[in-house]
Symmetry: C2
Subunit: 242 residues, 2 copies
């Protein structure tokens, strides 16, 4: 029984998921410390079954590796330099018994050949509400945890660069792709939207300009204020237009 | 000697190029009629050498299949449903001698296995000035010609859908991606920009609103009018800011 090289998967093609988590003005990324010898940090990743579509594979991988399902997961970029392989990483942690994993998993010679070949990776990203998802790890992972965007460890292969590119895509799409904002609760204040933007873009917006900019996107509807006594200073609530 | 299944290429991974051509208010797409028996229409396509990056492969394929080089070629979408194969197409044109091609090319059994497997395709697109490029065909192509966007033939696999998705990406990026406009001559009038937009979006714009919208992108600089006698009605010329 081979872990990877079992003809079930498309060879040389991987999927890597950058899962951004937002919580109380903090932006984090979900990162696995792999169950290999040595400290190897990786995005939640996997391969594409011959019997499934690529988007389907991305959702399956994310579900299997993190427990997260039913989220808006979007392809943002392919990574495919000719020298893109993790051969150096795995060779670096090899011991005389060819035992790579800390746990009971074994990597056969065929697995090693397969997993150390050149891989083209399809990069997917998502933005989730950290309060709403509970990441779980698999036997491949020593841990699966949120890391603040400013405290990302040095990761395997080009995974640090993948996060940077995903953040660029997130920023680029934030204005046009309302789905990204779906991590907000059903109703929210303009300040909550502004907090989210300020966290992701790492800059401050003037309140009036920001409100104007967001309302011009024409995706929000303003709800009635709740009048509860002295709450005439309560902020308006908004929700996405149906 | 196998045409495809020779270990030089990454298996099950293809690149398809949607090359839009613009000329005198017409939008066209570059399409190959393949040198197979039967009328099989295809985008300029190819495979990725083990020794080259994916973007590099896209440029090589485009150069080899069409003669077009040094253009802004951008990835826009992957196509990867589980049942994405051209087995049905090739089986349909098979004759008792297993001769698929009209010309001297032979497809070995191993080639047939390889080429009829499941393929994930990386979709690239570009927009070029038809006057500036001269498409050429290879031995794989019976012809390589421009087709008006409204007169695209029925193509192999999902290639018609690839063109639709590429057109969506072109429209989506037109406002933000100034490179797309680089098919214009070095200096141009606002009317030339408007003609381009109207062709691509298939709608008319009010002249003043259009000019306002484009100038707000803040990517153009207005040049001095040439005063040549009665030319005080000559339009302003623009060029991209350096």
């Amino acid at each position: 029984m081979h872990l990877f090289n079992n003809k079930s998967y498309i060879p040389q093609l991987a999927i890597d998921c950058v899962i951004f988590g937002y919580q109380e003005k903090e932006l984090k990324v979900l990162i696995s410390k792999l169950n290999f010898k040595g400290d190897i940090y990786s995005l939640p990743s996997g391969f594409i079954l011959q019997t499934e579509g690529i988007d389907e594979a991305a959702h399956r991988i994310l579900k299997e590796r993190t427990g997260i399902s039913n989220i808006f997961l979007e392809h943002y970029k392919n990574f495919g330099q000719a020298d893109r392989t993790n051969k150096a990483i795995l060779e670096n942690i090899i011991d005389k018994n060819k035992e790579y994993f800390v746990g009971d998993l074994m990597l056969s010679d065929a697995d090693f050949e397969w997993i150390t070949g050149r891989f083209v990776s399809l990069g997917y990203y998502a933005l989730v509400d950290i309060n709403k998802v509970t990441p779980t790890k698999t036997e491949l992972d020593e841990s699966m945890e949120w890391y603040n965007i400013h405290e990302i460890p040095i990761m395997m292969m080009d995974h640090n660069g993948m996060i940077e590119k995903a953040l660029e895509s997130l920023r680029l799409n934030l204005d046009t792709n309302i789905i990204v904002l779906n991590l907000l609760p059903e109703t929210f204040t303009m300040k909550e939207v502004q907090d989210l933007y300020e966290t992701i873009f790492e800059k401050e917006y003037a309140r009036n300009n920001f409100q104007k900019k967001i309302l011009e996107l024409n995706v929000l509807e303003r709800l009635e204020k709740k009048f509860t006594g002295a709450s005439n200073k309560a902020p308006y609530l908004y929700r996405f237009k149906k």
